[in-house]
Each structure stands twice: as structure tokens, then as C-alpha cells.
Symmetry: C2
Subunit: 281 residues, 2 copies
């Protein structure tokens, strides 16, 4: 079977998108379409230029006999800024206020379109780092971790708050919850994280940073290495946070007293952290 | 700006894949590429035929002034059977045995490639049903629910085992855990599920079916409607299950006694449930 260029371009784009961050060989595409490697190379050039034009991704091509192509979906600075603005608008809504100054986000973090955006933003941040695994703590960080993992094509691991019988042997640490000042315990199944692994930590919300600090301890306990931390939203916190250097997509101020019930959202540290020191990706 | 067909095909395929199950208008594409609607229609025909040829998805096109295209990624019967076989091979591994006849699956359900396959299989099952929301219970069902939600482009909701302060008012039900015969409690934030919503339930593992039965009660409590239930793996269970009609991708037999430590995996009820009564999709 010989496949025409127009059909090849559609199927190659689809295939590369379903196998992000994976080197797909010219040989594989050549056999799939019954085409010469030179034709496949031209196809890949078209795909690369198209992705670049729209600021949606990067196609790296390796020439030669063992050559191939690797797709990374990410945001240009312009697209990232637009997405952050949309997220700020979605959160800036007084009806999201919950008792105690908490913010209701479950609807947003259960929407596939929002999770794609959040995952892609965070993946864009770490795309040039060496990352082996994405870590989060149950429950609400899981969808974010999964979406980042999809874009980076790396596994994610879920730290758990209590002992579950189906996990086998675990490593646990105690940590101080920054907001409530209570001692809690978190644990991770021993076989899910390897010594020396490069880890990024993601979560939905940061107040005092206690949970993030707990995960940092757990990473040390496993002999692994922390590459960076990013949260969807950073709340206000009076006092010294337990971690520093954590990136946030948005910042939220929640006021809940007898006279005022108000939520104010604004962009977090993301744009400065990711695009502050480099040219547009 | 006028964009050439080859670039249009790449960008349209990408755009449709990033907006699955969403009607994208001819007008939108026409303006994006500075092209006549007739050219866009021809592009969409090429994409539709290519997806069909490879058995990877369906492109529905609506003609006319308000027309457009809607992409659904799914598996043909042949591709589904191949993926199920791969999953069976991945689980059929004695080192996955945990004490008490449980099976270690966290590595597989933390891998983006596996989650894509699992999500796409389950989405293929329900693609012609009216589904408003995907439901699961924390913790290990969450990645599956999210992946199904991505392919169906519907939100997912997470039922929780205990009260969390950040959720606002909740509805809870008691349920009997089928395997341990204990009474437990699960709850869902009141504002996450609407009356009359059509719900599919997914989870990682079913033994006695008690957890699934709990979610069924919760759906009734919300005045919503259960469309179907699908689990990644079905374990062996001696006795009457608390739910019937649940589809499983694979079946697992775990033997853990003094003389034997063995796991045996085989295909579940999926292929019969999805392709048993119909021609290839």
C-alpha cells in the first residue's frame, strides 16, 4: 500500500500526538506508508513548520539511518499568557468561596479542557529539564499530575495520606501542615520511585507549603532528586512558608469575614518563572 | 494569510485532536486559514478517510452554513482486541501479587500510554450513549476516570471516602464493602452532580462490587441516571456480587496461599459487551 502525502500528514500528526515525547523512526513511518525516507523527511518538515507557526509545539528531527522525530506539545509565551488570563477569570468568582477562606476548584479540575491547559502549561515549564517522574499527593493534585505526565510522557506517582492494604511496602514521613500546624503522615509505595530519579512535584493548592515540604522530605528519603514544584493556585498565607521556589499558575485572595465574602484571583509566578529569562520558546 | 493544504491538514488534525467531541465550525477553520469553505470541506474529507482507514477514530461532518466537524478517537474491534491482549500480558505477572490476594497495578495506572489505552477503550464503549459525566471514587480510579473524560470530553467527578473541608456541602451514603462486609461511607460535593445527569462509573478494581454499588446509591440520591459501569480489572469473588452488568477490561485470578503464589490474567467481558452485538465500528 502506498499512501498519499495528504493522508500521511494526517496520520503522522495523529500518531505523533498520541506518542508525545517519543522518538518515532523514519523507518517506522516509511514502512507504515510504503514511502521513501526522503518523502517522510519532507512530511516531517511540513509538520515542524506548521507547529512552529501556530506556537503550539516543537518537532525535533534526528537525521540519519537511526533518525526520527519527537513531538512536544507546549505553549509559546503568547499562548501561555492567554491561557493564564482565562484561568484567572474562571477562578475570580465570589461563589467559589468556601468556609475558612478555602476556594472551590473541583469543577475546573474535573474539566478535560482545563486540565489539558494546566498540564500543558506545567509541561512547558519543565520540557528542557531531565524529568523521570511527576509526583503529587492524593486527592485533588492527581488530575493535574496525570495531565502533566501525559504531555511529558513520564509516569506519575501518588503519595497517600494513610496506609492502604493494596500498595505493598511503603516509605512514610511525618510533616507539619503549614496552615493547621498539625503533624500528619504521608507515604509512598516503595516500588513506585527509584533512587536517583528526577522528580517534579505538582499540587492543586498551596497555603503554608506543609504538604509540599512533606513531599520534598519523601523525595530525600527515597534518595531521589527534586527538579521543581508547581501548583495550580497559591493562596494567601501570613507567615513564613515552609517551601520556597514553588511556581504558581494563579494567586487567590479569599476574604471570608462577617462583612465581606470575596475572592480575588490574579496571575501567579508562572510567566516570570518560565519566560522571564529566556526568549520565546 | 493564506495557508496551504498540507499545513492546514496538520493544524486541523492537531486542533481537532485537542478538542475531541467538539463541533468545530467550517467558518472557524475558514477564517483561521484564509480559505474557502469548499477547501475546508475537502480537507475534512481527507481527515475522515484517513482516520477510518487506520481504525483510530471517526470524524462526523455536518454540512451547511452552520456545519462543522467533530472528532472522536476510538478503537476499531481489531485495535481494541490487540490492546486488551497487551493489558492482559502486562498484568499476568506473579510479582504483582500482594498479601491477601490483591494485585499491584499502580505502576500501570500511572503510565500515560496505558492510561490513554484504557481511557480510549472505555470511551469507545460509551461513545454512542448520552453521557454527561464520568464518576469514580478516590484514589486509584481517578486516573482512569480522567482519561475516559478526556476522550469523551465530559467532566469527571470524584466520590470521596471521608469529609474534606474544602468541598462545601455534600451528600453521603453508607454502603457495604462486598469483600470485607464492613459498613463504610462515601460522599460527593453537592454542586458537582446535577439532577437528571447521565453518569458512567469507572474504577480500577472490582471484587465484591460494594464500592460500585455505593456509587449507584449515590447516583440515585442525586436523582441522576446510571448509564453503565466499567472497571479495569475484575478479581475473583466467591459469592454473589452486589452489582451486575459491570464490564471489565481484564479478569485476574490471584492465588496466595502457603504453597502457591500466582497471578493469572485473561480478557474480561469488554469485547463481548462492546463488539458482541454490533458490526465493527
Amino acid at each position: 500500500m502506498k499512501v498519499r502525502r495528504s493522508n500521511r500528514l494526517v496520520d503522522m500528526t495523529r500518531y505523533l500526538m498520541e506518542h508525545p515525547r517519543t522518538l518515532v523512526s523514519l523507518k517506522f513511518f516509511g514502512e507504515r506508508y510504503g514511502s521513501a525516507k526522503s518523502s517522510i523527511s519532507e512530511d516531517l518538515s511540513i509538520i515542524r513548520r506548521t507547529l512552529h507557526t501556530w506556537g503550539v509545539g516543537r518537532l525535533e528531527t534526528l537525521p540519519g539511518a537511526s533518525g526520527g522525530a519527537r513531538l512536544t506539545l507546549l505553549y509559546s509565551e503568547e499562548n501561555a499568557a492567554r491561557v493564564i488570563d482565562d484561568l484567572v477569570k474562571a477562578v475570580d468568582d465570589d461563589s467559589r468561596l468556601l468556609p475558612g477562606g478555602y476556594v472551590y476548584l473541583s469543577d475546573l479540575l474535573g474539566r478535560p479542557d482545563v486540565l489539558r491547559e494546566v498540564g500543558r502549561l506545567i509541561a512547558t515549564q519543565y520540557v528542557d529539564d531531565d524529568v523521570d517522574v511527576v509526583m503529587t499527593v492524593e486527592t485533588k493534585g492527581i488530575p493535574i499530575a496525570q495531565s502533566v505526565a501525559m504531555y511529558l510522557n513520564k509516569p506519575f506517582v501518588i503519595v497517600r495520606n494513610s496506609s492502604h492494604i493494596t500498595e505493598g511496602s511503603t516509605v512514610s514521613v511525618n510533616y507539619v501542615s503549614g496552615s493547621s500546624q498539625r503533624i500528619k503522615k504521608m507515604e509512598l509505595s516503595r516500588r513506585t520511585l527509584k533512587e536517583g530519579a528526577n522528580v517534579i512535584v505538582v499540587d492543586d493548592f498551596m497555603k503554608g507549603g506543609g504538604t509540599l515540604n512533606g513531599m520534598k522530605s519523601l523525595i530525600e528519603e527515597f534518595g531521589a532528586h527534586l527538579v521543581g514544584m508547581t501548583v495550580f493556585a497559591e493562596g494567601q498565607f501570613s507567615g513564613q512558608r515552609l517551601v520556597d521556589g514553588c511556581t504558581s499558575l494563579i494567586k487567590v485572595q479569599a476574604v471570608d469575614d462577617t462583612t465581606n465574602k470575596k475572592i480575588t484571583a490574579q496571575p501567579g509566578s508562572y510567566m516570570e518563572a518560565v519566560f522571564g529569562n529566556k526568549k520565546e520558546k
